[in-house]
Symmetry: C2
Subunit: 461 residues, 2 copies
């Protein structure tokens, strides 16, 4: 018999079916046992009259039975399958489970973060946690679809890079044979190179930051959605492209995942007809006027500034998102295009939403000599940028682009308290699957093991 997925049981009332899944809850009423079966598509109540010796939560099972309509008074309107139940004929256990460390059947798991992550392979199964990643996958699909619709080609940026090209201490060194290489902080330089190839390029990439602190909005490994395009007439086009993408994502999430948004008591951010674009300086003036906090000489917004300006823009213009533009040249990377009218400021922007940065972007310097000069001025060695510089040496049109952190955006749309909740297996300075302080013993075991190890891993090439 072919398997029926739980989402389809409502269309097969009266039929005999084969279901597979996990036991989500068991309610023993003496002669009758109710169990909720969960598969990837939903949950359904099953009724057991047969005595059963061994059933437990999270057992992976197969059920043969018939789909019955529930009596009126037994209908559960909270469940999509609440008006049917499965009359079980036969249960086969495919895999048993140990006793669960916490109650998985609650609507909210309500676990502390360390527990949530120590048991990640279990907690990821919870419907509300899975909902986070359903929304995330929609963002991802909408991104790919939108970029393609705008003529962008996908490419892959390498994540092993030869030198700490973008500078800063926040970079992880790799022991690379007898050399040292680094984990890429972003696909930035490679996406710019790809403008010379595809004109319009996008990538779904890993980015790595050796953040020396633990915050609720940073991880050491995250998914960066990066796009870059050439032959622009004005750098304003970059913000318009960003806005087009954001609107597409919002529309798709709202259309397909309204139920998930409700689970999190959240909604898609409100946007005005056009997302406001204001200069950093103007934002600082507004903050000073509204709050009295005088950060007008600062080269960037601090976390409180970001909250304040978002609040103000929403109040005045009805948009929960705002572009902040014209960051100072000295605080942006060497490749940022200076405003010709005022070279101390750049054609750069951040898109803030709900008090936090969502996207960063801008126009880049596309003139070879100017770029070479800036690389030196920023204290770098041009030899380290050989492959990058060659893209500009041989004709690079005016170009720019943007980058968006996938987990950050998921967190902000759903209103999650911590970015780790939007990552399958989050990494930070204290945790890589488990707490790294466990590591000293692990390392010793590991060295012993390496000597004994004879079996290579499964290789895909």
């Amino acid at each position: 018999m072919e398997r029926t997925y739980i989402k389809d049981v409502v269309t097969k009332i009266g039929e005999k079916v084969l279901l597979k899944g996990w036991i989500n809850t068991i309610r023993d009423h003496g002669k009758i046992t109710f169990l909720d079966l969960r598969d990837n598509t939903g949950i359904v109540q099953c009724v057991l009259l047969i005595p059963d010796g061994d059933l437990g939560l999270e057992y992976a099972i197969e059920i043969q039975g018939s789909i019955k309509k529930r009596p009126e008074r037994m209908i559960n309107k909270e469940m999509e399958t609440g008006f049917v139940e499965i009359e079980v004929k036969k249960i086969t256990t495919l895999a048993k489970s140990y006793e669960l460390p916490f109650d998985m059947s609650k609507e909210n798991l309500d676990l502390k973060l360390p527990t949530l992550l120590d048991y990640r392979s279990l907690t990821l199964r919870h419907p509300k946690i899975k909902a986070v990643f359903k929304v995330q996958n929609q963002i991802l699909d909408s991104y790919r679809e939108y970029m393609k619709s705008q003529g962008f080609s996908e490419f892959f940026a390498p994540t092993i890079v030869p030198v700490a090209t973008e500078g800063g201490a926040e970079i992880f060194p790799i022991e690379y044979f007898k050399y040292k290489t680094f984990l890429a902080q972003s696909p930035q330089l490679y996406k710019q190179i790809m403008v010379g190839v595809f004109e319009k390029a996008f990538t779904v990439s890993r980015a790595y930051r050796a953040e020396p602190s633990v915050t609720t909005r940073h991880m050491t490994e995250y998914i960066s959605l990066d796009a870059e395009f050439g032959f622009i007439n004005s750098w304003q086009e970059i913000m318009s492209m960003t806005e087009g993408l954001i609107r597409k994502i919002f529309a798709d999430v709202e259309k397909n995942f309204s139920g998930e948004l409700k689970m999190f008591n959240s909604s898609i951010p409100k946007l005005s007809k056009k997302i406001p674009r204001i200069k950093l300086k103007e934002a600082q003036e507004i903050i000073f006027k509204e709050t009295g906090r005088d950060n007008r000489k600062e080269p960037d917004l601090d976390p409180q500034d970001e909250k304040d300006i978002c609040k103000h823009i929403f109040k005045k213009q009805g948009s929960e998102l705002v572009f902040i533009t014209h960051y100072p040249t000295k605080k942006r990377p060497f490749y940022t295009y200076p405003d010709p009218q005022n070279p101390e400021y750049t054609y750069s922007f951040d898109l803030l939403g709900r008090g936090l940065e969502w996207v960063t972007g801008g126009q880049r310097i596309n003139n070879y000599e100017q770029l070479l000069l800036n690389i030196k001025k920023w204290g770098n060695n041009p030899d380290d940028f050989d492959i990058y510089l060659k893209a500009f040496k041989y004709g690079m049109p005016p170009e720019g682009g943007f980058a968006l952190g996938l987990e950050r955006m998921t967190m902000q749309i759903l209103g999650l308290a911590n970015i780790r909740e939007a990552s399958y297996f989050p990494r930070d300075m204290e945790r890589v699957d488990f707490r790294l302080s466990k590591f000293d013993t692990v390392r010793k075991n590991d060295q012993k093991k390496n000597k004994k190890q004879k079996n290579p891993p499964e290789k895909s090439n």
Copy 2:
């Protein structure tokens, strides 16, 4: 005026247009100059009567002009736009180019690999090299589309892993704050965990191998297409799923990229009605009979064996691809499912094509106790596998999956001589953008630089 892409000029004969792109070739005939303009969509000939002071190859330019039909005798049937040309009214240079290090206008670049890679940002612009990545992007899209059509959900596996869990020396250590972590050799353990979550999961992941040798078919960083699914009735389903994917990819590439296949003098591999499935032992017997080479006691096929068995299967059964099954338990990773009939062999397979491995896969052990035992037996510490083991401790149905190297498959479909040609920015033990032997000086510069460095990279979160 809105930009016209070159692929569209054939539909706008007689119209005034604005084109943008790079100068691919210049032919100076005295009073008249012909130049071929290249954008991401094609190449078109432009005719210049206006005297021009400064034009060069790879200049990024804008052209205003009119699209004319060419006189009959001037038609170039080799070019898609060969029956039209652009009568140029105005040229604007957007970015100049230095003199090119080699002739980019030839149909084949014919460069040695080191030059091809030293100038990667330039050589990637060549139409024949771009064709490689057009085909690769089709493989990628077909993969995503197929897996989704089969009910798989996309997820992201982390690439920073806490311990050398899959063993072997071929792993890169990362200096991770005060600890040591590693670059993932594959998303294997995480995709298995995800079976407990999504039942069917796929990912486009980076995989890293510290291959201590330089071959034509290995790189240190590559794109791994991984899929894993649960509730299987038989491990044969895993090969069937693999075969379904391969057929989908072949059909899409053939349909959409026949021109690109021709450029490489290649064609989609021929398949029989069902891809043959033969046991390793049988393959070794065949090789012995056919060639006299006796590798019947070997636990794996060597490169010559792979060529021989592919040749034999194609001759006898008309398939350029073949599944080799039942590899010995002691040569496969700890999680491989042993054949209950003969536990010295496993429910594992490799898919070979045109003399090389394309895909590897199999059923996995889903019983917690058996897995725990095997981890110890293979010389590993179960503590290192805590998060992985928990996925099995709490009910994991029978499951399996496969992994496919994206660059390897691209190379094999197009008949490329070296896998590096199928990677945008290939990494190996000798090269990461540039030859690592340059590195000693670079490293010193780098240390100096880090002290001076004040400007953080562009951050997306």
